[in-house]
Each structure stands twice: as C-alpha cells, then as structure tokens.
C-alpha cells in the first residue's frame, strides 16, 4: 500500500504536481505538466486553482505562481514535501475513518457518516476502497470493525500513526503507562534505546495499550509463528517483564501481548546493535529467522569471495538481515512511504551491476527457506529487496579496497600546491580513491606525475605521466586506470 492511497484522486494529482515541480527545479510550463499528469489544459488549470485553495493555510510555507503558461513553486527553506503530504493526509476522509476506528473499536454507518460529513453511501464506498488496500495487510473493515489478526492490526496502526496520521495524534492516550513500560523495559532488558527508537517503542506500546481493551481478537497465525520462539530467552524476558509490570499497574496483558511486543522489537530495528549482537549469540536456533540470517550472511561472503569480513561489518549485516527476516516471517503488507523503485534506482548508481540481481537471489532464498507464499501484493517483499540491496551496498562499499594515488609534480614550483590540491580533488571523484602529494617511501597504487625524465619511479605501483595539466584526456585515462586497478 502506498501512502498516497489514503488520498482521493484529485489530492493525489495535486501532490504529484508539486512533486514534479520540485524535481524540475521549481518551475515547469503548462505543456510539460499536462503531459506528465496526462490531463487537459482545463483540468490542469482547475488542479492549480484547487492547489492554490488548499494551500491557503500554508501560505507562509508554500505557494504556487501560475500565469497560463508556466507554474513556479516557492517553498520555505524549512518546509518539505513530506510536510505537505502530511497536510493533505490529515484532511483525508480515509485517514479520519481509520483514526476513528482505532479510537472507537466499532462504529455504525449511521453514527459515523455525519461525523465525517459524508452520506452513508459515500462512506460505504470509502470503506470499500480502503478494504482494497487493507487486503495486503490481510485486514478488512467489516461489521463496524477492523477485522484480522491482532498483530496485523497493531502493525498496520503502528505504520499508520508513524507515517500517516502522525504520532502526536496519540500523544495523550495511554501515554503515561506506555512511558513506564519503556522505562521498565530499558531497566529490565538492560538496553538503552536511541531517542528515535524509544519514540517508536513508545508508539507501539500506546497502540498495544489501547488495543488491549478490545474484546474479540484473533491471534491464530501469531501463535503458530511464535511456536519456535517460545523458549527464546529474549521472549521469556519480555514476557516476564510484562507480567511483573502488570502486577504493579492496572494493565492486563496476556501471552499474545508479550508475543506481539517481542515480534515488534525483533523486526523494527529498534534494538541497538550491541544488544542485538549479544542476543544473536545466545538466541534459540529453533527460529526460522536465526538460521536464515546465518545462511544469508555466508551466502554473501561466498558470493563475493571475502576470506574474512571485518567483525563489526558482519555484526551489522546480521542486525539488518535479522530485521528483514523477522518482518517477513511475522508480518504481511507494508506502507510504502518513499518510492521504493526510485530508492533502488538511486542506490543502483553507487553499486555494481550485479548487486540488484544478487539481492533478488537473496530474496528468493528467503522465500524458499521461510516457506513464504508467493504473494504479488505483499509490499514487504518489495521492501525486503530494498533491504537486501542496502546490505549488499553496505558490504561492497566497506570491503572496497581504497586506492592510493600519489601526485608527483616536479615542474611547477610556483603553483605546485594549488595544482596538486585541484588535481587531487579531480582524481578523488572516482569512488574509493585517496589522492595526496607523493610522499617518499610511501606505497601508491598509482603515481600521477609530470616528470619528463626517463628514469623509473621507485614504486611498485603504476605510473601515469600527465600530458597536459587538467586535460579531460588525462582525467579520462586516469579514471580508466583506477577502474582497472579496482578489479
């Protein structure tokens, strides 16, 4: 599910237009926009009018100027596209409907329609639309309730309040007790969350606290998936922590609440790496993710032929892979906040060609080992591809050998230093290259020099004699040599 799916067609188009303007440097002519949005001039003009109307409350942050030929965007330096998106989302009927459902657990059409200023038939249509998107999460609004596995409901609302409605919407609710649980958890597990992660745990707990009052919940798949984790030491600790906590406060968690908190901690990346590392060393292998993490780390090592990885890099790999695998194992669906395809394309720019296909191979292994159903509409599968891709980029970047280039200029007594600095900057444009003035007795992979003498330089590395200072010809040749040295 994409975050824009909470918006109506017209609202989506308006955001799309602003986004296009941002990517086009803040200005575009009508013809471009008509083509991009696939609309007529009349529709474009009506869209522009609608945006202008919508943006009135944000006049100090963002404004559009259009004159029948071109559109220009002005945005305050402290304002972002994300904030604009939030502004639209907050007004979305679907968002309000989901928020209402969370707060009230149940509703009737006659009760809710007036509150949202909708007719009952319009409300039914919105629910139908929402159900189409919620299907990915295996959830459904039915009989006045959100129905599905309790873990999926909490997971969905966690994403909803984190990315769509804004955490502040929940601030006052169950805040006190959730904060106490976070603090208890930090003491009991001897873990210290980063502030951002603490806020995420807090949000999960707020949702959990609220959902604990729901009477009819379903946790069939959770129970099944948790079977291999029942003896897990971290799970046992979380369970005992919640029990102890509930004995002192008016909270009544059940086994599933502990399980869902455990699942959240494993899959959300909130656990600090050192804590996760200690847990990983002692965790029960009778959990699908644990074996898979090891299998994929070794697959990556073998694929790239690394004899030995830096220990800390291996730990980071485990930390990330483990989150991906826990999420794929326990959850269904994902809320696509950023365009994944765009992100993949960006990452592809700094990665070797083969990384994308290898990331897909890793995903295939995961599907096979976790026995995941082949679902085309599960956004988590696409999300995992991005995750694997990121791990591979992280590994290949870190393991890349740094090439050292020495600049040896003998014939420029006057502008020598400036020239060396400039040349160094040009050479360092190639990734993984460090350039400096040539130091005697220091080994270099490449020495760039203006020497004319015939005598060879005392270096084991390659030598390139500049034909002309700052010539594109030399720059191209040096880049070519450096690329070949990398291989």
């Amino acid at each position: 599910m994409r975050i824009e799916d909470f918006l109506e067609k017209q609202e989506k188009r308006e955001l799309q237009l602003v986004s296009y303007l941002i990517h086009s440097g803040g200005e575009a002519d009508y013809a471009e926009l008509e083509e991009h949005l696939d609309i007529t001039k009349a529709s474009l003009e009506s869209t522009l009018d609608s945006i202008a109307y919508s943006l009135r409350p944000l006049s100090e942050n963002i404004a559009l100027d259009y004159d029948g030929r071109a559109v220009r965007l002005w945005m305050d330096e402290l304002f972002s596209m994300q904030e604009l998106q939030h502004f639209y989302l907050k007004q979305s009927v679907k968002v309000q409907l989901l928020d209402y459902l969370f707060r009230n657990h149940e509703f009737s059409l006659t009760q809710l329609a007036p509150q949202l200023a909708l007719s009952e038939s319009s409300l039914s249509r919105k629910i139908k639309e929402l159900n189409r998107y919620l299907k990915e999460f295996e959830l459904k609004i039915w009989n006045g309730r959100v129905q599905g596995e309790e873990l999926q409901i909490r997971y969905f609302y966690y994403l909803f309040y984190r990315f769509v409605q804004g955490k502040e919407a929940l601030k006052e609710r169950e805040a006190g007790i959730s904060l106490q649980i976070v603090q208890t958890m930090e003491n009991y597990l001897q873990v210290s969350f980063e502030p951002e992660n603490q806020a995420r745990v807090f949000l999960w707990l707020q949702i959990a606290q609220h959902r604990m009052h729901t009477k009819k919940t379903v946790s069939i798949r959770l129970k099944e998936n948790m079977t291999p984790y029942m003896e897990d030491k971290l799970y046992q600790k979380i369970r005992s922590m919640l029990w102890r906590f509930s004995s002192r406060y008016s909270v009544e968690p059940d086994e599933e609440d502990a399980q869902m908190l455990f699942v959240f901690l494993l899959s959300s990346g909130v656990l600090p790496e050192p804590f996760f590392h200690d847990y990983r060393l002692t965790r029960n292998r009778n959990s699908p993710a644990a074996s898979l993490d090891t299998y994929l780390v070794e697959t990556i090592i073998i694929q790239y032929g690394y004899r030995k990885l830096p220990y800390m890099l291996e730990r980071r790999m485990y930390h990330t892979l483990s989150q991906i695998h826990a999420a794929l194992y326990f959850f269904k669906g994902d809320l696509e906040v950023h365009d994944r395809l765009f992100l993949l394309e960006q990452e592809q720019k700094i990665a070797e060609e083969s990384v994308r296909s290898f990331a897909e191979t890793l995903r295939e292994i995961t599907v096979e080992k976790l026995k995941l159903p082949n679902e085309t509409n599960n956004g988590l599968m696409e999300w995992s591809l991005l995750g694997y891709f990121s791990v591979l980029v992280m590994v290949t970047m870190e393991m890349r050998q740094v090439l050292r280039v020495g600049i040896d200029l003998k014939h420029l007594p006057m502008y020598r230093e400036t020239t060396i600095s400039l040349l160094g900057l040009l050479i360092e444009k190639v990734n993984g290259v460090e350039a400096e003035e040539c130091q005697p007795d220091k080994p270099y992979d490449l020495i760039v020099t203006d020497r004319r003498e015939a005598e060879p330089l005392e270096t084991g590395g390659k030598v390139y004699v500049l034909s002309e200072l700052f010539s594109p010809f030399d720059q191209k040749n040096i880049e070519r040599i450096l690329q070949s040295l990398k291989k």
Partner: protein, 504 residues
C-alpha cells in the same frame, strides 16, 4: 529419501572453525572457515566466548553447504575434531556458559597446578592420567572457574552446571542438549580421566573438589552420540557420529592404526603422536601418555611429545631476522646453502621441551665462521626442526620399546621438500607427508563415517587413502650420527648458558 552421499567434518580449532564436506572417495567438495575473537583479559590469559565458538560453527556449516551446493539431507554423518583441553562450564538448564571458555594456552590456573606439584601429587597424577601436572590441561581450569564465579561450586554440587571441552559443548549444542558426552581422546587431556580404568578418577576429582555430576559421559571416538536438532541443520536430523581431539584425529587421519605408527604435525609448534597399542606406556622422559582413540570396544593409547618451536622458527627468520620473505623461500635458501651442516641453531626461544624440559634455556647459534651465509643460517634453522623431532621420536622409541619404521607428517612445513628429506636422513627412516594435508578433519570424517557404515571398516578407509610421496633416508650412517651428536652438543652448550637475569 535422498541418498546419503557425504560426510561433514567440523574442525573447531584454536583460532578458527572449519567445516569440510567429503565425498566417499574423501574428496573435499565444499568447505568454509571462520575466525572468532580471542580474548586476553590479563597477561597470560587466553579466553574465548563459547557462544561465539558455537556461532562460528553454525556459520561454517552453512558456508560449506552454500559453497558445495549440497543439501543437508545428503549428509550421512558429522564428525567433530577440536582444540583440546579448552574448558567450558555452562548452566544445564539455560545452556549459558557461566564464564568464558578458558583456552588451553591460558595460564590463569598455573598457581593451582603449582600447588598440586608442591603438595607432591605429580607422580599420582602421572600414573593415573599419563599427564604431567600443568595448567595446560582442563582440570585446573575447571577448578579456577569454580573458584572465580560466584556460587559456581555450590551450583556444580547441586548438578546445575556442566563441564565440557569444545567437543562436548558442540555436541550438546547441536543435539539441542540431548547428548552430553566426550570421547576418550578429549577426556584423556583433562587430567581427570584415569586412562587405565577408563573412568573419571575419583581421587583427582576429590583432590580438586570437582563434582562428578558435572562431567560428561566418556564414549568411543566412533559411534552415534545423538542427532542434530533439525533447526540447527536446516531441517534435517543428522547423526553426530565421530569425535576426537585435533592431534588424535590427525593420527587417525594419517592411518595411524597400528602400534609404532607416528605422525608429526608441523604447525607453529610441532605435535608428535605415536600409537603405542592397547596398553598405556608411561614415559620416563616426560612425554605424555594419552588415549589415541577408542573404537569397536578397543582403546588405543598414544605417546605425545611436542616441540615448542617449529614453524615459528621459520616465522622468526621471516619476521624477526628478515632473512626470507616467505616460508617457501626457506626451502630455496636451504638448497642453495654450501655449508657442510656445521652451523647449529637451537631455537629454545621459550625453553626446551621433551626430552630436555629446561624452561630456563634460551636460543643459541653455534658453528659460525666468516664464511657463514644467510643460506647456511636458514638451513640450520630448518634442520633444528628436524633435530628436535628426532629428539622426541627417539625418546618415544625408548619409552615404548617399539621400532618406528615410518614417520607420517602433515602441517605447513610438510610442504617443504628439503626439510622432509633432511628429516628422513636424520631419522634414518622413511618420512611420508600426507597426500591430503587436512588430516585432522579427515580423521574426524573417517570416525563419523565408520560409525554409520558409510565406510565399512578400517580396510575400506585404508583402500581410499592416497599415499603421499615417501622421502627415503639417503645419508650415510656415520654422517647422521656425527650431525646428531653435534646437535646434542649444541643443546648441551645452550643449557649451560644461564645468564643472571636479575641484573638490569
């Protein structure tokens, strides 16, 4: 059901873990290796995180499968060989170690060993265990852990704690806590095991106040101890069927099945192990008596001697003296030497081991002239490895009263053909480097394969064994005697040099 086509050997060493998958013709078809962290909490202490050892083993299991493309269900059995003596004590219920693994080199329990010696238990311990009292063995390490972890003694007495060497730890983990066993070869290195009675020795247990209930059951080197839990082996339950300490596994991997068979593994130091048959032979020269292996209801004993400096002498030439750039160059230099073997290097960097046992001795060089070259020096250093091996092997012959017709060798220096020829010359017997130098893992694989009928018997294994090149002695007897005599003189001279170390 898929055919079981392969055997997996897990070689859990001091600095790294390896897994090798062998086919029936003992061709390695996939392998993986992973180093793990060494901890040095204090000077002379060496420890490891048992969880990290375990995780490294899990990683190499996965790695070997990935590299080979072989499926776990195609594995007929698993054999384990391990760093010996390294001591782990863990909670029976939680499976959590109560302290780091105390590694064999670690000296933190030396005061306990020293006290036992001072109290006059040396002879008793030697008679019962075949070992000399030293912090090297597991017994004092267990005592140290029980002394230094709060409440450990009490918990051990209540039966809440378990002790194991690395083999025991790995089998316990792989089998999900079902099998708590060790094998004869590892048990005989604990300094708690009575090698005559084949049982934990109650007198020594009482002496060190170690509760018997924390010790594993001692079983043969080749039998099914348990099965991997399916979650440790990618959905498959595979028999764990072979176990041996690394040096004993190497003896087995070198086909050292008959009394009088000797193998020498040239590593940083050098470990020489001799099969002495079904009766233990106690050494009069401080060699260690140990159990080589126990299989099919029979126990075969061994004598073991170690040389402190072997490969490390070559490292010294490379890193310390910078005379060579790599180990392989030592062979070229030795060949190029024109000297008449009149330079002697005694690399007693940390004292002299068997049969001299002089910890105060320090290295020396003899026979230098104006004409001595770098090549001569390198050759003399290589020769010192061969002389020291002869010292131990001659002592073994004397202690066991068994003739040694052949020395089987493996390890890095076994690739040095010049050294192998000189070793044969100075011993006056054939020297045979293993064709497959991975004898340790091979030994574990053989033991596991035999237990599950993957290989029928020792004869079938013998038929698979590919003999390496044999280096035959070609030195005249009088030359050999003269050279070795001069070596002895050099050692004697080295031992007389005892400088006063109290002067700054």
């Amino acid at each position: 059901m898929s055919e079981k086509k392969y055997i997996m050997a897990i070689d859990q060493g001091t600095t790294s873990s390896r897994a090798i998958i062998y086919d029936k013709q003992i061709n390695p078809v996939g392998s993986s290796q992973k180093e793990f962290t060494q901890l040095f909490p204090q000077s002379g202490w060496v420890e490891q995180n048992p969880h990290e050892i375990w995780n490294s083993v899990q990683s190499v299991i996965a790695g070997a499968f990935i590299e080979s493309g072989i499926k776990p269900k195609e594995i007929a059995a698993i054999g384990i060989t391990n760093q010996r003596e390294t001591t782990i004590v863990w909670d029976k219920e939680t499976g959590y170690p109560i302290y780091n693994a105390v590694v064999w080199q670690s000296r933190q329990s030396a005061p306990i060993a020293e006290k036992l010696k001072q109290e006059g238990y040396e002879e008793m311990v030697h008679q019962k265990t075949g070992l000399t009292i030293d912090a090297y063995f597991s017994a004092t390490k267990i005592r140290w852990i029980l002394d230094h972890v709060e409440g450990a003694q009490e918990r051990a007495e209540k039966g809440e704690l378990l002790f194991g060497t690395v083999d025991t730890w790995l089998v316990w983990k792989l089998s999900g806590g079902d099998a708590f066993v060790t094998d004869y070869s590892n048990a005989s290195r604990t300094m708690l095991y009575n090698i005559h009675d084949l049982d934990w020795d109650q007198d020594i247990l009482d002496l060190l106040n170690i509760p018997r209930q924390m010790l594993p059951e001692v079983v043969s080197n080749s039998q099914v101890y348990g099965h991997t839990k399916n979650y440790h082996f990618y959905g498959t339950e595979i028999p764990i069927a072979g176990m041996a300490g690394d040096q004993q596994a190497a003896l087995f991997g070198q086909m050292g099945f008959e009394p009088g068979m000797v193998k020498n593994t040239y590593g940083t130091g050098s470990f020489i192990v001799m099969n002495t048959g079904e009766t233990p032979q106690l050494s009069d020269n401080n060699l260690l008596t140990t159990i080589g292996y126990g299989i099919n209801g029979k126990v075969y004993y061994a004598l073991e001697g170690s040389i402190f400096v072997a490969g490390s002498a070559v490292q010294w030439l490379r890193d310390g003296l910078k005379m060579i750039e790599n180990s392989a160059e030592s062979e070229l230099f030795a060949k190029a030497s024109k000297s008449k073997n009149d330079v002697y290097v005694v690399p007693a960097f940390t004292g002299l081991g068997a049969p001299y046992w002089d910890s105060d001795a320090r290295g020396a060089v003899f026979g230098l002239t104006r004409g001595t070259t770098r090549e001569d020096f390198v050759k003399a250093t290589l020769q010192s490895i061969a002389y020291q091996s002869k010292d131990v092997i001659d002592t073994m012959k004397q202690d066991a009263g068994i003739e040694i017709p052949l020395l089987k060798v493996d390890g890095g220096a076994a690739r040095n053909r010049w050294l192998m020829q000189f070793q044969a010359d100075i011993l006056g017997i054939d020297v045979q480097p293993a064709h497959n130098l991975e004898t340790t893992a091979l030994g574990a694989a053989y033991l596991a394969g035999l237990a599950v009928g993957y290989w029928k018997d020792l004869d079938e294994i013998r038929s698979l064994y590919e003999e390496g090149e044999v280096f035959k002695p070609s030195m005249a007897d009088n030359t050999r005697e003269k050279l070795y005599h001069n070596w002895k003189v050099a050692v004697e001279a080295t031992q007389t040099f005892k400088p006063d170390v109290t002067i700054d």
